[in-house]
């Protein structure tokens, strides 16, 4: 019997999940994660993004970065749909811990429990965590 990893040809479509755990500013992880997702879109893989911990702040409406002299890249999340990146998952506990709700977010997302998100992670082929 062949192992699952021996069955992958050049036309393989894998499940890629990009896990975002950090606030949008303060460190560059969120911005550079977004750059990976945009490039990856050209590879026609099964892409999803997960937002948890302070990563949920990346999707917060009404970001204003004038005071810190950095570019506000939050509008890019609204452009993801045009790249066929439509599966955005947000962990319910992370939102609740920060006093946020789905209405505070700038794009349509699927809010799910930590447990459900963990199950979803188990189904992925590749998880890139930023």
């Amino acid at each position: 019997m062949s192992e699952p990893w021996e069955e992958e040809g050049p036309g393989t479509i894998k499940k890629f999940m990009y896990v975002n755990r950090k606030a949008p500013y303060g460190t560059i992880y969120a911005l550079e994660s977004l750059e990976v997702v945009l490039i990856a879109a050209a590879f026609e893989q099964d892409v999803s993004m997960a937002f948890l911990d302070d990563g949920v702040y990346q999707l917060k409406k009404g970001q204003d970065t004038k005071g810190i002299g950095q570019k506000n890249f939050s509008p890019t999340y609204r452009a993801l749909e045009g790249y066929d990146v439509e599966k955005l998952y947000v962990e319910a506990e992370s939102l609740a811990d920060r006093g946020l709700s789905e209405d505070d977010l700038l794009v349509p997302v699927e809010v799910m429990s930590r447990e459900a998100l963990a199950e979803l992670m188990n189904e992925q082929d590749v998880i890139l965590s930023f």
């Binding site: 550079e32 490039i39 590879f43 590749v126 930023f130």
Partner: protein
């Protein structure tokens, strides 16, 4: 198995690169294939030949270079992350009008597509960082 490695943190500041190196060594020692090591975020700084650590400390960039020389390991530095952080090869230095380059032997600069390709091609893509 075919392994890919992603290094997201710079040398010395963070242990991610040391751990990634030890893991890469174990992959090779056990007879697995190491398809590619991709350096992203501050991880690109692992590929400078201008680092001069104290004499009694490990030489992280050199260790990676030696691995590339001994095993033909593909060490890829993300171009977008490298440009931000002043990591250049000869071609990039010329293109950007800079007066020198600092890339260590065995490393090459390329795009994020190389990371996604590693995710598609490898049985496991292992991420080192926070």
């Amino acid at each position: 198995m075919k392994y890919g490695i992603l290094v997201n943190e710079g040398p010395y500041q963070h242990q991610a690169s040391d751990t990634a190196y030890q893991f890469a060594k174990a992959v090779l020692d056990k007879g697995h294939e190491l398809y590619r090591v991709f350096f992203y975020h501050d991880g690109v700084n692992n590929g400078t030949r201008f680092a001069v650590p104290p004499q009694d400390d490990r030489k992280i960039a050199e260790l990676w270079s030696q691995m590339a020389e001994a095993h033909g390991t593909d060490l890829v530095i993300c171009i977008a992350a490298a440009q931000r952080r002043g990591l250049l090869d000869e071609g990039e230095a010329k293109r950007q009008g800079k007066d020198g380059n600092n890339i260590a032997p065995g490393f090459r600069i390329s795009g994020l597509g190389q990371l996604i390709e590693a995710g598609i091609q490898c049985d496991r893509l292992v991420v080192f960082g926070d």
